[in-house]
């Protein structure tokens, strides 16, 4: 792996095959695989035989992930930065963005947001194929009662793979694929706020895919996509692949969310006020932000599973003080908002499509945006409706029911806007519009059937039933996948410069809609008749419904073939697309198709709203600044942000990451409080597990607080980077943090709870380990800053000290909370 050092030849010069391969996906794969194998062997040799093989596998996965990224070249820029090398020149940035590399740039760590968007899009197609194949296998097995196409173990794994792959795919399919490509363009920017972070988010997801697929070789996982403990604790080694996939996926989502949020916050073109922001941008921002906030809870739940499996802790072992409610609450705290993470970008895409193809303003723009914000806010309060009959919260069933039904109000606003926008419009029936209309049909069915599940009496009948399955397929597939397809047909000309064949598009649409409705309506019936979920052997009583459902999978398979053929043929040899293929008003339609490397060679100013049809204003919502006119220099459209805005972006980005991590910490501490509250059997902490010493806790906390305080003292008051105070403060702060880390490792080593660990001991060990992890991260990023400081190159970058300070203070607050918890609740 070669660092991009200064003095390299400029872009476009001949490059050797070595320089093309390293760094690239090839070097990433090789390095990652080698590291995984070596780590596996080392851990296997070191860890005692009494431990299960989970330790080896998880260590191998983590090594794979880290070294894959190193092999991709993701670590090059941070290292280069720490060593104080000069900033990349404009030519080097363009080279990183893929200039002159042709199609190979899609296989490298490429920072161009359009490349990242296409990488996500192609990955989505591949994942859809995998998840779709799994769904066809499910229908194959369920077509006939008593069919033994797959053994029950294989069937459970297939069901779980289908669920997880489709969930991952539907989360990223619009907000990552089209969001990455179009959000910067729609706001008039030339790239995202953090282009390298963008590439990192994609390659993190890419690294998770082999991890997930490896479960097939390791015995699969029996829990379905929800990964419920304690079955997850009991399962064979393949379960670890599931857990690690979730951790990596959550990381990818967090990186992407930070990028989108900061980009939209700070890089909008002049004139683009928030009331002129296209609904698609709103929806992508809200969706990714929601994902950033709630996925840490899932990561926490899955991490506790990994701890149970690898280290023998007891978070989910009831007789040792654990409780499966912890998993359920954490999972569904993520699980319900997550469906809105999936939904919102589809709503945004639909709004774009129907306004363009009815050529009318969006009927109730503010109401729609308000509704999306309402959905965002309400969605984090309703998760317990998945747990009405779990026994966890029966007294809360009524308020949760109220909350859940209330979410139908903002969701209904979407239909209000759909109806009003179409009314008296000038409607065209191109494929994007067909899919948008089908969204209105399918999602209404899905949403209404959700009301039955939200209401306690009917949920008694339908929980765990095929009715539930049909409901969420109507919303997730009938709603959001149709939204994705609408977006695909709408934006394909812009991305590729070619038109998709409209007749094949309409054929695809009808095959898919008829097949989809035909698959899931019979499943509603089967659910009403009482068929449970996850049936490898279908009760003959439900045989007819399942057979009809499986037969309608055939049109769906045909529709996939049609789409695949259409895409392949059109991408290479389709009719060339016009710049404004559909007559839209948003900024991307101003640009050539496909969009060149530099989006806007002149800055753009926004003069009107994105949906101002029929109002006699300009044809598009913005236009390039006329040469010689004054430009608001505070907003930049070049790839090189100036220093002041760069500092702002860094601050927002780090704060968002801290916010996400805070949710993770909250999840872990809540789990502890919950377990303590549920401890009715006296098995939470037997006398064999002592309380950690108060002195140790207090010392750790003091070290964390002191480290943060000294670090902050060093730079507060905007000290210049070359001053003595900064040098002393930063170095001393770093050293104190190092001492704190050493202390926490000592405390960890002395905890010495006997096996089997009860829930209390598990929590104590987890807390100390958690605290140590924060310190390790602080030390790593602190080292980078220290390196550049001592090279004398930190001038103009003082905000990095500030950002590391945020993390240190966050760690200190966590330590204080931990000490209070441990002292108060034992």
């Amino acid at each position: 792996m070669s660092a991009v050092t200064g003095g390299h030849e400029g872009a476009g010069a001949g490059r050797s095959r070595w320089q093309a391969l390293v760094p690239s996906v090839v070097s990433g794969l090789v390095l990652g695989l080698v590291a995984a194998i070596v780590t596996g062997f080392v851990v296997h040799a070191v860890v005692p035989a009494t431990y299960r093989p989970d330790d080896t596998i998880v260590a191998a996965y983590l090594a794979w992930f880290l070294f894959f990224l190193v092999g991709m070249g993701a670590a090059n820029y941070p290292l280069r930065w720490a060593l104080g090398r000069p900033d990349p020149t404009h030519e080097e940035e363009l080279e990183l963005a893929g200039q002159g590399q042709g199609a190979w740039r899609y296989f490298k760590f490429c920072t161009d947001h359009k490349v990242v968007g296409i990488q996500y899009l192609v990955t989505v197609f591949v994942l859809f194929l995998v998840g779709g194949a799994a769904s066809w296998m499910i229908r194959l097995e369920q077509a006939r009662s008593g069919a033994k196409v797959f053994t029950p173990a294989a069937y459970n794994t297939i069901v779980g793979m289908h669920g997880l792959v489709m969930i991952v795919t539907t989360i990223i399919m619009i907000s990552a694929a089209f969001g990455n490509y179009f959000v910067p363009i729609m706001i008039g920017a030339n790239d995202m706020a953090f282009p390298r972070l963008n590439a990192l988010s994609y390659w993190t997801l890419f690294a998770a895919i082999p991890v997930l697929l490896s479960t097939l070789a390791l015995g699969g996982f029996p829990t379905g996509w929800t990964g419920y403990a304690p079955l997850a604790d009991q399962a064979a080694v393949g379960m670890d692949a599931y857990c690690v996939t979730i951790v990596l996926f959550a990381l990818s989502i967090a990186f992407g969310a930070v990028n989108i949020f900061v980009t939209v916050l700070t890089m909008r073109a002049p004139g683009l006020s928030l009331t002129r922001l296209p609904v698609f941008v709103w929806s992508t921002v809200l969706s990714t932000l929601l994902g950033l906030l709630v996925f840490p809870a899932f990561t926490a739940a899955v991490m506790l599973t990994l701890l149970d499996r690898c280290f023998g802790t007891s978070f989910y072992q009831a007789s040792l003080g654990g409780n499966n409610f912890v998993y359920e609450q954490l999972f569904w705290f993520m699980g319900h908002p997550e469906v809105y993470v999936i939904l919102l970008p589809a709503v945004g895409a639909i709004c774009e499509v129907i306004t363009v193809f009815a050529r009318k303003p969006l009927w109730g723009y503010r109401l729609v945006v308000g509704a999306m914000i309402g959905i965002f806010a309400l969605s984090v309060t309703v998760w317990m409706h998945h747990l009405y009959w779990s026994g966890a919260n029966i007294p809360l069933d009524t308020p949760i029911m109220l909350d859940t039904e209330l979410i139908s109000i903002p969701t209904g606003v979407i239909f209000f806007a759909l109806v009003g926008t179409l009314w008296r419009g000038r409607i065209r029936f191109d494929p994007p519009m067909l899919f948008a209309i089908a969204f209105g049909v399918n999602f209404l069915i899905g949403g209404v059937t959700g009301l039955y599940l939200a209401d306690v009496p009917t949920d008694t009948l339908f929980h765990g039933d095929m009715y539930t399955v049909a409901h969420f397929h109507f919303t997730l597939v009938g709603g959001t996948v149709f939204g994705f397809l609408a977006a695909l047909y709408y934006w394909f000309p812009k991305v590729t410069g070619r038109q998709l064949d409209p007749r094949l598009g309409k054929l695809h649409f009808w095959l898919f809609e008829i097949g989809f409705v035909g698959v899931f309506i019979p499943l509603f019936y089967a659910g009403l008749q009482g068929e449970p979920r996850w049936q490898a052997y279908v009760d003959p009583q439900f045989g007819t419904a399942n057979l009809i459902s499986s037969l309608f999978a055939i049109p769906i398979i045909a529709s996939v073939a049609v789409l695949g053929y259409n895409i392949l043929v059109s991408w290479r040899a389709g009719v060339p697309a016009e710049a404004n293929q559909w007559g839209g008003r948003t900024l991307e339609w101003m640009l050539p198709s496909p969009v060149p490397l530099v989006n806007f060679d002149r800055p753009v100013v926004v003069l009107a709203g994105p949906y101002d049809y029929g109002m006699g204003g300009p044809r598009l919502m913005g236009q390039p600044v006329i040469a010689g006119a004054a430009v608001d220099t505070a907003v930049d459209a070049s790839p090189h942000p100036d220093e002041a805005s760069r500092a702002d972006r860094a601050r927002y980005g780090v704060l968002l990451l801290v916010l996400s991590w805070t949710m993770f910490g909250l999840a872990i501490y809540s789990a502890y409080i919950y377990l303590h509250a549920l401890n009715t059997t006296g098995q939470f902490r037997p006398s064999s597990e002592p309380v950690p010493t108060t002195v140790g806790n207090v010392l750790l906390t003091v070290a964390a607080v002191l480290g943060a305080a000294v670090w902050t003292w060093g730079h507060i008051g905007k000290q210049p980077a070359d001053s003595r105070r900064v040098r002393i403060g930063v170095t001393l702060g770093w050293l104190i943090t190092l001492a704190g880390l050493a202390g926490s490792l000592v405390v960890f080593a002395t905890l010495n709870y006997p096996a089997p660990m009860y829930a209390y001991g598990s929590s104590m060990a987890l807390f100390v380990f958690f605290h140590a992890w924060h310190l390790i991260i602080a030390l790593i990023i602190g080292t980078l800053v220290l390196g550049r400081l001592y090279r004398g190159r930190l001038a103009g970058r003082e905000y990095t000290i500030e950002c590391v300070g945020y993390w240190l203070w966050y760690t200190a607050v966590l330590a204080v909370v931990m000490t209070v918890l441990v002292t108060a609740l034992s």
């Binding site: 459970n156 039955y452 009496p457 009482g530 449970p532 109002m615 044809r619 236009q623 059997t681």
Partner: protein, 319 residues
């Protein structure tokens, strides 16, 4: 609202009349204002200002705005009546046959919600499909998408927005209220002295124990008319205990017991108890037969299974 720009010269614009009395969530329709298309006279360059379409007096195709609304509402009303009638006929047939008042109420809830949902869904769909059928785009003379004619710049009036929100909120509150009534009836004031059945889930079978009768069984037999309280637990992983016909649903959690709300079987017959939480390899096979029998048959069954028939036949027998 329309943009307020002056109309293009040469066309007439009727003064915007008073808005019609709004039917719930009715569309804004200035009287007689379906615009006719303006001929595309030139090809404006990028960013150029194009003249607004004339708000003409003559409606397109001979239909008036008010006529559109009336037609849509008529179609909606007729379809709603027809579909509600169909629902009332069909919905009771597609669910499981209830065997307790709890399940009966759940089935009734199903019907009531469907009867409410159908006109709401039809309202949206009739408007949408009517628009698709009637409000079509004409091909642009230049063939370029940018030159297509724009639709009228309509926006919802505050009254319409509030009406829509109020109606959907009222529906939501009604659903909640209904659900609360059901939940209240199910959980409040439970009958005393129920027959307690301890349900143990283990991968992959349900076993039942009647503590007051001393009977262990792998099938469930219940006497008609006697309230039953299921206490559910698991020996290993999470399971879900469900008897649809009785309206019983409760997760089996390892390590502790959870009590389901009491139900009273009110018809004889056979039904099934199933597991609805994926519990591993043979989750599919985790089901048992449930039979509701007369009190006499139940006493005989208890005796045959080594239990205490005297306790079984005593109606309010000591536990």
């Amino acid at each position: 609202m329309t943009s307020g720009l002056p109309p293009a010269p040469g066309s007439e614009e009727p003064p915007p009349g008073a808005a019609e009395p709004a039917a719930p969530a009715a569309e804004q329709a200035p009287p007689g204002a379906a615009e006719s298309s303006a001929p595309a006279a030139e090809q404006p360059a990028l960013g150029a200002v194009i003249p607004p379409p004339p708000a003409a007096g003559e409606p397109a195709g001979g239909q008036s705005g008010r006529g559109h609304i009336r037609r849509v509402l008529t179609i909606w009303a007729v379809l709603s009546v027809v579909c509600i009638a169909l629902c009332v006929l069909i919905v009771p047939l597609v669910g499981t046959k209830s065997a307790s008042s709890v399940a009966g109420f759940a089935n009734l809830t199903d019907l009531v919600f469907t009867v409410l949902a159908v006109p709401v869904a039809l309202f949206v769909w009739v408007f949408v499909f009517y628009s698709l059928a009637v409000f079509r785009q004409k091909e642009a003379a230049t063939g370029r998408a940018e030159d297509l004619e724009d639709g009228p710049p309509l926006q919802p009036r505050p009254g319409q927005q509030i009406t829509w929100l109020a109606v959907t909120a009222a529906l939501a509150i009604f659903l909640v209220g209904w659900g609360m009534v059901g939940f209240y009836r199910q959980t409040t004031d439970p009958p005393s002295n129920p027959l307690v059945v301890d349900v143990t889930g283990q991968q992959w079978a349900w076993t039942y124990y009647y503590p007051s009768l001393g009977v262990q069984s792998h099938v469930l037999e219940l006497p008609l008319g006697r309230p039953v309280e299921f206490r559910v637990t698991s020996d290993d992983v999470l399971h879900g205990f469900v008897i649809d016909e009785l309206g019983v649903a409760m997760d089996a959690n390892p390590g502790f017991w959870v009590t389901a709300p009491i139900v009273t079987p009110n018809r004889l017959g056979q039904m099934t108890a199933r597991c609805v939480e994926l519990c591993g390899l043979y989750h599919t096979y985790m089901w048992t037969q449930v039979t509701v029998v007369t009190q006499a048959d139940f006493t005989a069954w208890v005796a045959a299974n080594g239990g205490n028939p005297a306790a079984a036949s005593a109606q309010g027998g000591a536990q």
